[in-house]
Amino acid sequence: MPQTESKYVKKELPKNLGTWGFVLLIIGVALSALSYAVDPARASFAYLTAFIFLLCIGLGSLFLVAMEYAAGAVWSVPFRRISEMFASSVPFLLLLIIPLFFSMHNLFIWMNPTAVAHDETLQVRMHYLNVPFFVVRDIVILLIWWLFYHLLIRNSRKQDSTFDQNLTTKNIKISMAFIPIFAFTISLISFDWLMSMTPKWYSTIFGVYLFADAAWVGFAVVTLTAVLLNEKGYLSSRINKDHYYSLGTWMFAFTVFWAYIAFAQYMLQWYGNLPDEIIYFAHRWYGGWKVVSLVLVISHFIVPFLLLISRRSKTNPKILIFAAVWIIAVQYLDSYWLVMPDMVNNGFTYSFSIMDFSFLIAVVGLIIVLFNLLAKKHNLLAIGDPKLKRSWEFHL
């Protein structure tokens, strides 16, 4: 261990990164507030899109940290701290969900008493989709995520100074508890906020769809940041091609996983062609959404698939950075595709609005500010981790 300790010299990130993040955050928040003032209904849909995008990044990163501990992965130890810093948005979700609770009447048709009164199916659904249960359920879920974030990251940071191996053992246990709970809770969140916008539609695989997105974009943000930082010399010269290759492989793997899940969901409902089920895809096919759906298929699956299939591209930093940026952008498109076509259900007509960007800017600013703050306070490498030394010798 002493060797690796002495070799890691912490470098400060460029100062203007924090400034940029802060400026983006301020502009984003100001524009978002303005959007709410102008058109609260349209703004709440844009806000939900950005919220889902942020949730995918934060929760995906937290999942990767837990997965590394649970699987005993060695190669990814140098990148774990970066995932931890991106997961730092998880506690903020508790704060950010509050405005959504106040715009539920815009988002959900089942909030409308007259619509429910005329629909027996909705009346049955109301046993689950009623406001008190909904709010309590989601707050409990976010508290659980926050708790696990807190436990995992506290132990990981403590290890930087204490070099205590027992902390790794503790974190493995915490991760083992977190992963099944995560699988259950992300399904509930996806059912509550996305699926219930089309209250009569149901797809049991929907939680897995959101999970595929979250893990995908989780790997994309860690790849983007790790490659950028490492190429500029912020991490360590001992990160080799095989580390890059593994990052690229994971992005590739979740590209295919998403395609598998998304196609499984689509094909079953397309084949059944039942009114309650097909309505979800009908809303995403007619009225101009056809182009978006096709673009999503191409950009979410075909482009990253072809981009990352060869071994050479998975070890090329430039291609990795491009693929990661691409994936993050497409993830926002996917969030958009999940939320926006359902405006019809609540009697609104969709039209593209500039206010979609205001929330996106705020989210990007928030992530940069959080990352910058944590990178100043903590090491960019988990130098106390007993697996780090083995990780330097990682070869495929």
């Binding site: 094909m267 071994r311 070869h395």
Partner: protein, 391 residues
């Protein structure tokens, strides 16, 4: 072992992975190109030490993956959308989403099998199925606890004594000369193989017979035989008329089906006139239906020369003056209702349009058998088919 045989290569054994990596590096640096390393398990860094380039096998996989995907898509498109279009589940003839799982499976299957065959073909130098190293002490050692290197005689630098000396200098133990096996030719139909085939055939047919003819009727496998449902021809214990087959509710009409208005009315000579012009498409439809339903009794050319050959009262010729004199409506009526108790009704086999098309086609056959003088003069400058069609 005699020295007349050709040498395949010279082997040496090492005790630790570190030694073998160093030895592989030195063999490469000494300029040998045709050499190989055998170890009980994969050793990291060996590719680099041996100076191997990344395998070309991936391209085989890629090619056959694409080949599998495109061939199965072509197959499904041709069979289900072009050659024999089938409506399945109310989907289009070429429902891409439904074909994706099959395409995926076939791509993977094709890629995996071709990769495996390509690898075996290269390694074993197909069609031979024995590598010279098989059954040597060397391969027994490297597959349990030793690490070995073999320098092959194909190498331009190969010289028996030099190589032996070189391997000894690297620290190799139990240096061994491996000879190429005599090329053996195998007869495919050796008695043992034939007996094996016969036994397999007997077992397969017996088990199939027992499964399909005996086992299926024994409990508990006979659950398919005793289903809680009505059979088409069976007597019902449920319905008062004792028929399991039910009839449509009175007064209902099937979609796309228009009932015949003159059922039971024999003489409909003047009720109906043919609503279809004898166009090429109409006549082709008529020909198809005539050959399917009419020709078994009336003959392919409606001349009564049928394939029944006396097993059943033959259909009369349709070229008699009486039949030529029938109106279209009468012919239609005969096809629809049947005649004389011998010719059955064809209401359920053919649609209205098809019956009218048959009538048109019968007219063509009649005209062809009894041409007018003008037909012979026109035939030289007009198409035969369109000449017929202008009847």
């Amino acid at each position: 072992m005699n020295n007349d045989k050709k040498i395949f290569g010279i082997t040496a054994l090492f005790d630790t992975p570190n030694e073998i990596i160093k030895a592989a590096k030195k063999v490469k640096d000494a300029g040998y190109k045709y050499f190989d390393v055998n170890t009980p398990y994969p050793i990291h860094g060996m590719d680099k030490a041996m100076g191997l380039k990344s395998s070309k096998l991936g391209y085989v996989t890629l090619f056959f993956g694409f080949f599998g995907a495109s061939s199965i898509l072509f197959f499904m498109w041709w069979t289900l959308a072009v050659n024999y279009p089938l409506v399945i589940g109310g989907k289009p003839y070429f429902p891409l989403p439904a074909f994706v799982p099959i395409t995926f499976e076939f791509t993977v299957l094709n890629a995996v099998i071709s990769t495996f065959i390509a690898m075996i073909a290269v390694v074993f130098n197909m069609p031979f199925n024995a590598h010279p190293l098989h059954d040597s002490n060397y391969i027994k050692n490297v597959s349990s606890d030793k690490y070995g290197v073999v320098i092959e005689s194909e190498d331009p630098k190969f010289d028996e004594n030099n190589v032996k000396e070189f391997l000894r200098s690297l620290g190799g133990k139990s240096i061994e000369i491996i000879y190429n096996p005599e090329k053996q030719t195998f007869k495919v139909f050796q008695p043992r193989f034939v007996v094996f085939l016969i036994i397999v055939a007997i077992i397969t047919s017996l088990s199939t017979y027992v499964t399909l003819n005996k086992l299926m009727y024994m409990p508990p496998f006979d659950f398919m035989m005793n289903q809680n449902k009505g059979s088409a021809q069976a007597e019902s214990t449920f319905f008062y008329d004792k028929h399991e087959m039910r009839e449509p509710v009175k007064g209902t009409v099937a979609r796309g089906f228009i009932p015949y208005a003159f059922e039971g009315v024999v003489d409909t000579n003047e009720f109906y006139s043919n609503p279809f012009l004898p166009t090429k498409e109409n006549l082709e439809l008529g020909q198809k239906k005539f050959l399917t339903f009419c020709s078994p009794c009336h003959g392919d050319y409606a001349d009564g020369n049928s394939r029944l050959q006396g097993q059943f009262p033959p259909g009369p010729t349709l070229h008699s003056a009486r039949v030529i004199g029938f109106s279209d409506g009468k012919l239609y009526n005969i096809i629809t209702n049947g005649q004389n108790g011998i010719m059955p009704s064809y209401t359920y086999q053919t649609t209205r349009e098809e019956r009218w098309a048959i009538v048109n086609y019968i007219r063509v056959l009649q005209r062809a058998q009894n041409p007018k003088p003008s037909d012979f003069t026109e035939i030289s400058d007009t198409n035969k088919e369109s000449g017929n069609a202008s009847n």
